[in-house]
């Protein structure tokens, strides 16, 4: 690691002022599980780290305004165990439980994971399928960005150097909705996935047809990606094997994977289709039975 300065603000205002003054020379550190590895590899050599550890007002899970709001400093473990998340969006708690190991989940934060913008992560894919948006704060105000407009490339986002990811807002799914995150782990349970797919559907229980459908995929491009053609073909229809198959094939066209130790590009593309089909079936089942949202 290079040598760097270390600042420890105690309020969001102090943190934003430091970020404003230091800009690109500084990096925010929350849990540090991803950042410390990048520092060790000298992929990042910041002049200063701004620690959010003492900025406790950013550590919360709240649903008092209807939507589920995750503070940037809430850890993965907090979200996984949160009664608010478990009752309102159980599939989201389930997704956070599936991230890495408990050692990482105890430390890694919601905001840190999104700002890190690694396309192999789990939670951004599920949050995208759930139509989440995030809030970026500066010294002068806050703007809201839909999560599917946030990522631009490997480890790159629309976040400006003086902006801090402060909150993630997840709308509570409508009645008769179901969602699921499936990841394909051919090696070990704590590895990054070969593909990760999240599907969220809302089904009209009377006609058994799809009212809304959102599909997001991870590990198959330089950012998590939506599959709008696949979503469109499902909307308004009843789910059949053939339709799920077609959706999977359409979703595959949105993938642009790289070959690596977790599979060749062709294999990942094929598996993306399979997992979209499976996730669609499971999310649909959950929407009908109402056991999970």
């Amino acid at each position: 690691m290079n040598t760097f300065d270390y600042r420890q603000p105690e309020t969001p205002e102090e943190a934003l002022a430091l970020l404003h003054d230091l800009g690109e020379d500084a990096r925010i550190i929350a849990g540090g599980t991803a950042l410390v590895i990048m520092l060790k590899q000298r992929l990042l050599m910041p002049e200063c780290l701004i620690s959010l550890q003492k900025v406790r007002p950013l550590d919360y899970v709240d649903a008092s305004n209807g939507d589920v709001r995750l503070g940037a400093l809430a850890t993965h473990r907090t979200v996984e165990q949160s009664p608010i998340v478990r009752t309102r969006i159980p599939s989201l708690a389930e997704t956070f439980h599936q991230v890495a190991t408990v050692r990482i989940r105890n430390v890694a934060t919601v905001g840190g994971a999104l700002a890190h913008a690694d396309p192999n992560q789990d939670s951004p894919v599920m949050l995208m399928a759930l139509d989440a948006r995030l809030r970026l704060a500066t010294t002068t105000g806050t703007r809201e960005v839909p999560l599917d407009a946030f990522f631009t490339d490997y480890y790159e986002t629309v976040r400006q150097p003086d902006e801090l990811v402060s909150e993630v807002v997840v709308p509570v799914p409508a009645p008769h909705s179901g969602s699921v995150y499936l990841k394909f782990l051919p090696k070990t349970a704590d590895d990054y996935a070969t593909v990760g797919v999240a599907v969220a559907v809302t089904v009209d229980p009377r006609t058994q047809t799809c009212v809304d459908c959102r599909i997001a995929m991870g590990c198959v491009a330089s950012t998590p990606v939506r599959a709008p053609e696949a979503e469109a073909v499902v909307r308004g229809e009843r789910l059949t094997q053939a339709l799920a198959q077609e959706a999977g094939a359409l979703a595959q066209r949105r993938t642009d994977p790289i070959s690596d130790a977790r599979g060749s590009a062709d294999y990942k593309r094929a598996m993306a289709g399979v997992f979209v089909r499976r996730a669609l079936g499971q999310a649909w089942q959950r929407a009908l039975t109402g056991e999970e949202r």
């Binding site: 690691m1 290079n2 040598t3 760097f4 300065d5 270390y6 420890q8 550190i29 540090g32 599980t33 410390v36 590895i37 520092l39 060790k40 780290l49 620690s51 550890q53 473990r77 890495a100 190991t101 408990v102 050692r103 990482i104 105890n106 430390v107 070990t188 349970a189 704590d190």
Partner: protein
């Protein structure tokens, strides 16, 4: 430039001056001489460096020492009490829960953290919790038996 940090490690208070890039694992091993905590992969995957930070299981290889300022740390050296091994340590001996021993400190600390929050875990819960601690001798069955044994013993102690 160094930063002054205060940590309570295994019940003992320490004040240290460390550079911001100092890792907790190096602080424990080289500044405090607590070499029970091992470094394996250095990227948070293998679990050899597992320690408790304010009771929470973390990887010391991914933790900057400055982030441990003001916190309480438990390493494997802090588990025995008055010369008595912790029930998890004793169970690893009784059930043969290690071979070469390099993963053992991390295994023991992780198992203690599990039993602190879930005193009677199922085998599935043990596997789910312990999946981040790798044993390259592949003695996993004995490790699971050790943890189950420690859970039973802790429960018996609690009842009596």
């Amino acid at each position: 430039m160094t930063h002054t940090i205060r940590m309570r490690v295994n019940g003992k208070d320490h004040t240290l001056d460390v550079p911001a890039q100092r890792l907790l694992i190096d602080c424990l091993r080289y500044d405090l001489g607590l070499t029970g905590t091992k470094e394996g992969c250095s990227v948070g995957v293998c679990g050899a460096c597992s320690v408790l930070l304010d009771g929470q299981l973390v990887s010391a290889c991914l933790t900057l020492a400055v982030l441990a300022d003001g916190k309480e740390i438990t390493t494997v050296e802090g588990l025995a009490h008055n010369g008595q091994l912790h029930p998890v340590q004793q169970a690893f001996i009784d059930f043969g829960g290690f071979q070469c021993g390099i993963c053992t400190p991390g295994m023991v600390v992780a198992a203690k953290a599990l039993l602190d929050t879930n005193p009677n875990p199922s085998d599935a819960e043990i596997k789910d919790w312990m999946m981040g601690n790798l044993c390259r001798c592949t003695g996993y069955y004995k490790i699971i038996e050790s943890i189950r044994g420690a859970a039973n013993r802790l429960q018996t102690e609690r009842v009596s």
